[in-house]
Symmetry: C2
Subunit: 339 residues, 2 copies
């Protein structure tokens, strides 16, 4: 009975270190009935994002962990196929947070209607969605780049990093990107228009980054952690700002980290350079800034000032492997699963 079945991928077990296929399980369940104020969605696209690694762990974080046996969470674009809310009718396309599944019941109040004519639907999960807004809010509210300043961002071919660099350039700053491998680096430079790009696999990365930042670094948008930090840190200028939205390089780590202890040296530079380090989750800024973001970003895309790249994988059953690859940088552009 394919018509009344919903496919979903649940968390089968918590990973130790990097997630493996056996941490996920594909299930089929009956499509549930909807109540008043709810709609039934057929999911069209699922967004895969690094933050999902955090939800797989029981460790305390800014959001509750996914329970074992529950579907993995995630942002989705879906089509309304049944509605018990006057604001939605079958055929409407909506943005929801329905997770890794083919069908979902959603409360109408938590949906945002999308206009398929205004922009490709997938952009609601990328450049016009959560990753784009993460870049916009973190860079402009915390990073505050000024004309002529230097902004550095890693994972520069990804949806957050590419938007950070392009918005920095719109604001008159220099954008220096870090990416993995020659293909991604060329794309960051030639398509996203960064002023310089460094391959983080290059053994001379630190020296090349220093050469690409002759006036030092005023904003480091931190979304990876790991060895990029060590190359960036000595180049930070007095009053540099460091928005921290992700640490994908250490998400799979567990236990303690071997020495030497870098914390005292970091704090010394925080003091001697009057640095600002600020962690954030985009939703902190959503109520105040998301409408302006969508308006500005749509205009920048229309004007050609912001470009984006998507990496679309077909089939819900391929989501686990695609997600594992995301944590290792194997995707190229915003990773989305077409259900």
């Amino acid at each position: 009975m394919p018509q009344s079945d919903s496919a979903r991928i649940v968390l089968a077990s918590r990973p130790e270190g990097r997630p493996a296929p056996q941490n996920f399980r594909l299930e089929h369940v009956a499509i549930p009935a909807i109540g008043d104020g709810q709609v039934l969605l057929k999911i069209l696209y699922l967004s895969l994002d690094p933050y999902m690694r955090g939800r797989m762990s029981a460790a305390k974080s800014y959001a509750a962990a996914t329970e074992i046996g529950q579907p993995m969470e995630g942002g989705t674009v879906g089509e309304v196929i049944e509605s018990r809310d006057p604001a939605f009718k079958p055929g409407d396309i909506v943005l929801s947070h329905s997770g890794w599944q083919s069908h979902a019941v959603a409360n109408a109040a938590q949906l945002r209607k999308l206009d398929p004519k205004a922009a490709p639907l997938t952009t609601a999960l990328g450049v016009l969605g959560m990753p784009g807004f993460t870049a916009y809010a973190g860079l402009l509210t915390i990073g505050q780049p000024k004309p002529g300043e230097t902004v550095v961002v890693a994972a520069a071919s990804g949806p957050v990093g590419s938007a950070v660099g392009q918005i920095a350039r719109i604001k008159g700053a220099r954008a220096v990107g870090i990416a993995g491998g020659p293909e991604k680096c060329a794309f960051v430079r030639d398509t996203f228009g960064f002023d310089a790009v460094i391959d983080h696999r290059d053994p001379d990365m630190a020296a090349k980054l220093a050469a690409a930042c002759p006036d030092g670094i005023d904003v480091y948008f931190e979304n990876v952690g790991g060895h990029v930090w060590d190359a960036v840190f000595p180049l930070l200028n007095t009053f540099a700002r460091i928005p921290v939205c992700g640490l994908v390089a250490q998400y799979n780590a567990s236990g303690t980290f071997p020495g030497p202890d870098r914390l005292p040296g970091m704090m010394r530079d925080v003091l001697s350079k009057s640095l600002t380090i600020r962690g954030f989750i985009q939703r902190e800024f959503a109520a105040a800034q998301a409408p302006t973001f969508r308006e500005e970003m749509a205009r920048w895309i229309a004007e050609g000032a912001v470009k984006y790249k998507e990496d679309i994988v077909a089939g819900l059953e391929n989501a686990p492997e695609a997600f594992i690859g995301l944590l290792e940088g194997r995707n190229f552009g915003k990773l989305i699963v077409k259900i």
Copy 2:
């Protein structure tokens, strides 16, 4: 010829680790002549502050290092004994940055006249001076305590820490202090009126700090570093703010620090708790806030809402030993040398 001699203490050599008496040298030099727009000062009081440790090292910092053979720098209160500037006359009392010496030539434009009737002269070096302003600007601009929040500060019997806690209470927050030894702790609680105080020498410090902060920590005013940080960090709340104005516990350290590496864990919490860590030097805020600070702080002192404690040492020749003791927490209150 004592009348024409000036005593001064110069940096004899750079310390490795903790400063020792042989890093300083007492000298007598002729009192120099003054030019137009200058005054000759007889120094009455010299402020000793932890930041001076940084000036003794050649390592890059926010300020240039003191050169070998040059006088140690420092804030001073002096009396004008000769003037070639119309704004000053002999007998005027001024605040200057004349360093560790008995006499100094100063440019009139860099002096601020003090009113000996308004407040004890020494307060211009403490609660109404740089340390008080460090507390005021860092706490209010970066820490931003809200009523009911918990503010933690170490070196709570010192001039910065005591002001931080008392200003926090004026703003309706709870103040929890950390100090060294029962005498200082009692003073912090009974005279400065903190809500709770923990002895950092107590082997159960971390547990006692947790018990004293049942609602977690919203502002940690960092002026010491070291093992206090490890006790504070797990208690920080989401959106906690950490103004960093000093790291006296690590000023004498050199080389690398042994593992484990605490940096990845700190960055994980920066991200998961949306923390703000912000280094600062008070002068960043001086132009905008110092006049308001002096007005408000003088009123708080007059009303009894802010109390202060000074530790006055007699004789310039005793400054080196007093300074070495300051880095080890042997002073009790704002350390000042009466020349």
